[in-house]
Symmetry: D2
Subunit: 280 residues, 4 copies
């Protein structure tokens, strides 16, 4: 399994959330507490949308197959790049090759996608799932992970028009193909996806026991509870973090996203999350 | 394009042909003379069958995404590993990702496969070709190269029973699928394949102008012509090298394999090569 | 030998000079024209000062031991990072190890340093040169290149107070130590150094035949001569590029820096360069 | 801290001890039990002397900066290389750069050296220790670890003539230089060294609490106690393993090497280890 983090809000130096917190994502690459594996050292990736519009709205992606904890380039980047919306992911391979094209986040046009979890018996379902990908997108699949195939299935199913719908149809297909191959409870996922404007975070598992996922409380609330926190001074109230596991133990900061639900950020006032239901 | 070398004969230290010759394969990684590209620095690989049977007949494969010319591990290996049958390949990517799973040689069970050339407009033919691979083998495809798909198509078409036939059927399919997508002359290849017992080398191009390929003369002939050559003293007369381009300029050592032909080593006395005809 | 590029002027996307020009630095990593080696594939590095002040004036450094031409992370970075002052370097090792700590540019505090050239018989002079480095700086030497030792010698000799003087004293020491070991003409160098405010470029060789080095004409001049150039529209007249070899063949754009001289950018009006004389 | 393993005895496939045992060294790279760090993912290395004499008595060294647990090349090598005497090391950096030249084992001529431990405040002692290295050997230091400097100090002090004496003099120097810099208890080490004929293993710490180190009982004893063990059938009685931590929990197999002692293998009958005393 893996650990990931997604940030949306006021432009922030990546370092502020990747390295500074007590139990930062980089710390989680060595000492994850809630993951199946405590070590997530099979590569990492960050994806960010530029604060100054560089890249014409297309996010930058930086990936490496080495562990995040000892990567000097990542530390350099984190200390010099500011972004209003960025993803970071540390990988623990469940068997697929250690290569950049298997590192998250995955990008297609303006879209970023990252995943923690797995498709059970993927090798048995892989071919049917790949066949369901839009033939025009098939050559875009560069790696050998279930996560990348899930992404291109979601793109195939209309990510551009309707994110929750596309993800629901992707999950519906995975479960149908799983059933056809006698794989009960084929899917396990927490997924983050963004187009640079908004951030969607999904938590779902076929058997109903999905990986942990948390979102941060409104910045004003956190500021009020923890005036000591360094970077909160600068950020807008709409700023949110979604993480595989909390970056610290501060009370009132982290809220668990329930089973079978998804969050959209910036959030509609009063709506922290909505139910997620696969479309068969 | 790439450069490759295949050796079959008396157990030899890899170093003797990878580093020692004037225009060795490692030298070719920086200064290829006959390739489309003079630099082949997008990764490399060696595959060898053990002289002492280690590995139960399965060849070892060592691959790296960095250039061969500065790789210390390759030099160490070459200076300490002896093998009666080994492959070496230096890569010049035509666009696909720089990752170990895209480096040659490819292995499946006891089989090794490497390729120099390309399938034209591969991104357009890729899906149909992948669909033609035995579903049971589909998950074995780990990378994104045309070469690996060609290999699993050949395995699908009976490499185990009939090597020239399986390769002919693979080429026939690629040309048919190419024609269906309006790609004339889709294939360009020099291929080496082995099961650890014998070595097959193919040269073919749809348009009839394939990459260069050479095989060495019988060791006794070379010894006679060039008593100065270091390692020839030790090797059997049946020993042969097949290379993308000659390792030196010695007259009488290197013979070009003609267009649309293939060689089998150990060779049947008097038969240096046979015609290669695709099977539609 | 290596190839390098230094940019100073209006904040620019790295991509504009690293990838866009006909004979860009990335192109030079494969096809250098004026270098001793045409291939510079033994690693690369970029160093940049943030346009928005991120990093508190300390430049970011991104290095990799793989070739620049196929590096996806570099391309991503170049397409999303803007900087008013940046260095880029592609390496051709003269024997020292292929490792990030041997890649240029080197950084110490706010300083960046990169070098093309070599100290002759460095292995014989290395110890004496290292001994001359300020003991407090000795542990900062992480790699095994002559270039890094030259940098820390310059820091030892007062780079902070007087750049040309510190470099002159460093060169003076190298030549004296060389003479002591019977190495005539020990030094060959083109060096770029910056503190984030100004850029200094030096060209010098003990025997008087140093590597090529060019600086660009004033932006207004180039704009006038070549209205077609894409990025010149945006840049200030003080903007300059210093390069191992021209990025194109446009007349009037590139001027050779003479033997034994150095340039300071931003330039004092009317002063393109000054003489460089080692201090024994 | 790190974990290491040294094997001496009947030629064995590296795989038999690197991957097969329940708590193999590769397993220890992810789940060390007795180390300061449970993860040893900052690179690894193996060094082996050829069973067939390839390399003229000089050992081969294979190193990588990535973790051992996911390295395919290491698995390939381990499955195809047999050796009568080999070292393997998984690294947990205490701060120095992640590069091949900082990976163990280190080699000089016919000698291999690896280390687990550290020199306290190394950055303060580094220069004086480097100065004590034979000037002719100084350029051999390619990396930035304390371990490599300890090795070249031992070579300087006569490793070729008297291994225990050279190591005792090296330790004596480190402790003297430490005292001069106000560093009490500067050294912490378990060291393995070999010339291809014999294997020496040292355990020592200035403060007397050194890292764990174990050696295996005579093969006949182990065979008697554990007839189930796979590879013991083939090995000679003189075969021994020395490891940072046991490869399993079998009673009677593993013996702790006491504080301040060293073992020589092949062992003199009745002499499992001797006392180790630094030479001031």
């Amino acid at each position: 399994m893996c650990r990931w983090l997604a940030y949306s809000g006021s432009p922030l130096l990546l370092d502020a959330v990747l390295y500074r917190p007590e139990h930062s994502l980089i710390n989680q690459s060595l000492y994850a507490r809630m993951g199946v594996e405590s070590t997530n050292g099979d590569g990492f990736g960050v994806g960010w949308y530029s604060a100054d519009g560089s890249g014409d709205g297309t996010p930058a992606v930086f990936k490496d197959t080495a562990p995040a904890w000892n990567n000097r380039n990542l530390r350099e980047l984190a200390g010099h790049v500011r972004s209003p919306l960025f993803f970071a992911h540390v990988r623990a391979s469940t068997g697929s090759a250690i290569q950049q094209t298997n590192c998250h986040p995955f990008r297609h046009g303006r879209w970023l996608w990252m995943h923690n979890g797995a498709i059970a018996d993927f090798h048995r379902l892989q071919r049917d799932l790949c066949m369901a990908v839009d033939p025009a997108l098939f050559p875009c699949i560069e790696g050998s992970t279930d996560s990348e195939v899930m992404f291109y299935l979601a793109v195939t199913y209309g990510l551009d028009q309707d994110v929750p719908g596309a993800v629901a149809r992707m999950v519906g297909l995975v479960e149908r193909v799983g059933k056809e191959h006698g794989v009960s409870d084929p899917l396990q996922m927490t997924v983050a996806v963004s187009d640079g404007e908004r951030l969607w975070a999904f938590r779902y598992a076929s058997e109903g026991k999905s990986r942990s996922l948390f979102y941060s409380s409104a910045a004003e609330t956190v500021r009020h509870l923890h005036p000591e926190l360094p970077f909160l001074g600068e950020v807008s109230d709409a700023t949110r973090l979604v993480v595989s596991e909390p970056l610290g133990d501060l009370p009132g900061v982290w809220n668990e996203l329930p089973e079978a639900s998804y969050a959209v950020i910036p959030a509609t006032p009063g709506v922290d999350y909505l139910p997620f239901v696969p479309e068969p």
